[in-house]
């Protein structure tokens, strides 16, 4: 359904834009119909940048993003509008997605004015109410309220309902759970999983490994803009191969197991551009060699549905 083909994003930084910051480098993956794909990475890994490029909020520096056989950078005018009918995003902070001086359902009215001006009011009202019910909200309780009168979980569902009103096929969910309280978190997560059965594809962007594991079929592990490991979720979590994935999984706090003894190198956080593997500075001594410093590893398939970018596996 959606394919990223060697997509890169370079930001110009510094006073006069003199320095280049590679936020995303040569990322390729695809998301299939009715599938939840997790994009997992720490801050600065480029996961939100990828989401924004898919939503065309920012252009890609190089590479192609193809949606249903069309390169999205070529879309203009009505074709672009048609694209937004199919592809929508929901973001981290539900409170900042609303204008606090207007009622929350104004977002539905804007949607109707923009996309469905010919739909009769009564029919629109019916559709709105049934969609709100589909995301687990009671229309009577939430319509006509201001954003501050609704909880974070309700607002987040409102935004999902807004995306569903346009017959979306692809949803970019950027950290939509992290601002919510533990008791409402799971309900929004379950809602996403239920939508998948309606044929919706979801790109689930998160830094939380357990959330990614809970909801997705496949996952991509990103570090500083590069894919470290990619494949079926149970393969990645069951047998993590990349040193970075292993470190991530070992340091994620869990409820069933105490932390294992893993060395965490805090000093290797320098962000200079390296010629070789981006993880070289933080990689444990025993796992890296001199060649890692100069040669960029490529993604290789180690088994079906499991790719890893590490020289240790390329050699074999």
């Amino acid at each position: 359904m959606l394919t990223l083909d060697r997509v890169s994003k370079v930001y110009r930084v510094g006073t006069f834009g003199g320095r280049a910051l590679v936020a995303v480098s040569d990322v390729s993956f695809d998301v299939r119909d009715g599938e939840v794909m997790s994009l997992i990475g720490e801050s600065g890994s480029g996961k939100s940048t990828i989401g924004r490029m898919i939503l065309r909020l920012i252009p890609a520096t190089s590479g192609r993003i193809v949606f249903n056989d069309v390169d999205i950078s070529t879309l203009k005018g009505s074709a672009l509008k048609e694209y937004y009918r199919r592809v929508q995003g929901v973001f981290q902070d539900p409170f900042s997605s609303y204008n606090p001086i207007f009622k929350a359902d104004r977002t539905f009215r804007i949607l109707r004015d923009e996309f469905f001006p010919d739909t009769p009011a009564a029919e629109w009202q019916d559709r709105m109410e049934s969609t709100l019910r589909a995301v687990g909200l009671n229309p009577g309780q939430v319509l006509g309220k201001f954003p501050h009168q609704l909880s974070g979980g309700q607002l987040q569902r409102f935004l999902i309902a807004r995306a569903l009103l346009l017959d979306v096929q692809f949803l970019v969910a950027d950290e939509i759970i992290s601002m919510l309280d533990a008791s409402t978190r799971v309900d929004v997560l379950n809602l996403l999983a239920d939508l998948k059965s309606r044929g919706l594809s979801i790109l689930f962007i998160t830094h939380d490994l357990s959330l990614g594991y809970y909801i997705s079929e496949r996952a991509v592990i990103l570090y500083r803009g590069c894919i470290m490991e990619m494949g079926a979720t149970e393969r990645i979590f069951g047998t993590p191969l990349h040193p970075y994935t292993q470190m991530l999984i070992a340091s994620a706090p869990r409820l069933d197991k105490k932390w294992e003894e893993v060395e965490i190198e805090l000093r290797g956080e320098q962000l200079e551009n390296v010629a070789g593997c981006v993880y070289y500075n933080r990689c444990p001594q025993t796992m890296r060699d001199a060649a890692c410093r100069t040669q960029k590893p490529t993604l290789v398939a180690v088994e079906s549905e499991h790719w890893v970018a590490c020289r240790r596996y390329a050699r074999e």
Binding site: S151, L209, S210, Y213, F237, K258
Partner: protein, 322 residues
């Protein structure tokens, strides 16, 4: 007993009346104990921490007293509390990144702070350097401005600063929430290290992330809507919680190894009550499937086993119906 809190009740004064943010909190933190304090946003966990540090309007002390090492703290006297602040009771604030003055070098900030407490910077410098090594910060940071450090580095600098005078009690307020998992782990382990090296005698760690507490805390106190719900050792809270809220909360947490397709988790229906005019009795009543008439009264926070406190009428069994 390092810290003893008795019947502590703190309200926020607003034009529309008092917000009853903390109601009759009674608990103790033992010497060498790391106590986790968890709950949803708005449950009063930060109010509890702030009232131990700096209780100023709109906060109002309604009742209760707090003893630290047997000494009664003058909570509502901001001036007299400054004798205790930083020396006996210290805090790592939620946004440690923004806690440093951007126009001063880190070393200067520390020197000024020590001076205000009448401690000579030069005599404490060797110890300061030793502790910077411990958190893997180079000594050069003392000559740097906060802007030159990354978020994780600033966090560690503030941690060293907070425990410099070996306080009895350290309160860490959501310090791991904004960090990446690997940094999070390092910071949590450093806090435990502070306790093991006796830089601090006991610790209160406030977070909404219970899985972090499972890794580092000795005991966990769960709060709900301004009331204490349950306190027990970490293992008991995770494996055998008694309060209905704790049970639902623990059950709703996604874990590595749980898949949507195999085991569907469920949340807690409903939302916490507004604390401006909270319902009488147990505040979890409306969301609790086990609630009965007795829940119209506030349940006492009682010890049902050694070290295990629960505030729920269900614990009284048949007596409650009588």
């Amino acid at each position: 007993m390092s810290l003893q809190v008795e019947n502590l009740t703190v309200y926020y004064q607003t034009l529309r009346g008092d917000v009853q943010a903390l109601e009759k909190a009674t608990f103790a933190v033992a010497d060498g104990e790391i106590m986790g304090l968890a709950g949803e946003s708005g449950c009063g966990k930060s109010t509890l921490a702030n009232s131990l540090i700096r209780l100023v309007p709109p906060m109002r002390l309604v009742a209760g007293q707090v003893r630290l090492d047997g000494e009664l703290l003058p909570l509502d006297d901001a001036k007299r509390m400054s004798e205790y602040r930083f020396t006996k009771i210290s805090v790592i604030p939620q946004y440690a990144m923004n806690a440093l003055n951007p126009t001063r070098k880190i070393g200067k900030i520390i020197a000024e702070l020590l001076q205000s407490k009448g401690v000579d910077f030069a005599t404490i410098l060797p110890e300061l350097k030793r502790r910077l090594d411990l958190v893997e910060l180079s000594h050069d940071v003392l000559g740097m401005y906060p802007i030159e450090l990354s978020g994780g580095m600033k966090q560690r600098a503030v941690m060293v600063l907070s425990v410099l005078l070996n306080p009895s009690l350290l309160i860490a307020d959501e310090i791991t929430s904004a960090l990446d998992v690997s940094t999070q782990k390092a910071v949590a382990e450093m806090l435990v290290g502070f306790r093991d090296r006796e830089f601090v005698r006991s610790l209160i760690v406030i977070t909404h992330d219970i899985s972090i507490l499972y890794q580092m805390a000795d005991s966990i106190l769960i709060m709900y809507a301004g009331q204490l719900a349950e306190k027990a050792s970490t293992d008991v809270i995770i494996r055998a919680p008694r309060h209905p809220y704790t049970r639902l909360l623990i059950a709703s947490l996604p874990k590595v190894g749980v898949r949507y397709a195999e085991r569907r988790l469920s949340g807690i229906p409903g939302r916490p009550p507004l604390l401006l005019d909270p319902p009488a009795g147990c505040r979890f009543r409306d969301r609790c499937s086990m609630a009965f008439e007795k829940c119209m009264e506030v349940p006492p926070f009682v010890e049902i086993e050694a070290g295990h406190f629960v505030a729920c009428w269900k614990e009284f069994g048949a007596d409650a119906d009588a």
